[in-house]
Symmetry: C2
Subunit: 84 residues, 2 copies
Amino acid sequence: MKNFRAAIQIQLRNNILDVQGKTVENALHSLSFSNVSDVHIGKYVELTVAAADKQQALSHVEDACRKLIANPIMEDFHIELTEV
Amino acid sequence: MKNFRAAIQIQLRNNILDVQGKTVENALHSLSFSNVSDVHIGKYVELTVAAADKQQALSHVEDACRKLIANPIMEDFHIELTEV
């Protein structure tokens, strides 16, 4: 068994209004960061997974994302794996 | 002026207890993902920043992270910039 560290970026799907992102964008503008736009806020998850190979590790992490970590109806996720 | 897309990963500092991560780890174990450990949950922010060059864009985004986006007392942040 090898250990892999997974970095998972989770974001709302493109067509869903990102209220939190819009609020942070407005707050940045009031703090005179007027050059900032298109702010999107999501989740960032790191975890260690034990698996026989990278392919199996990826399939476990995708399964965990679909079942618990992300909300597959509203969110997209992107997984990066590195062997540790 | 060029536009840069910043991807910001924000995580609790190492010595701070990640209660949300621990809760997700326990939930994954009950869903029979027993091969998963060391779960850490943070925030993922994407934004577009207009700046003269990459160095200036990075300094703007770091400033925005310190002043609003991250909590510099409890969190570390990592910024990646790509020109768009």
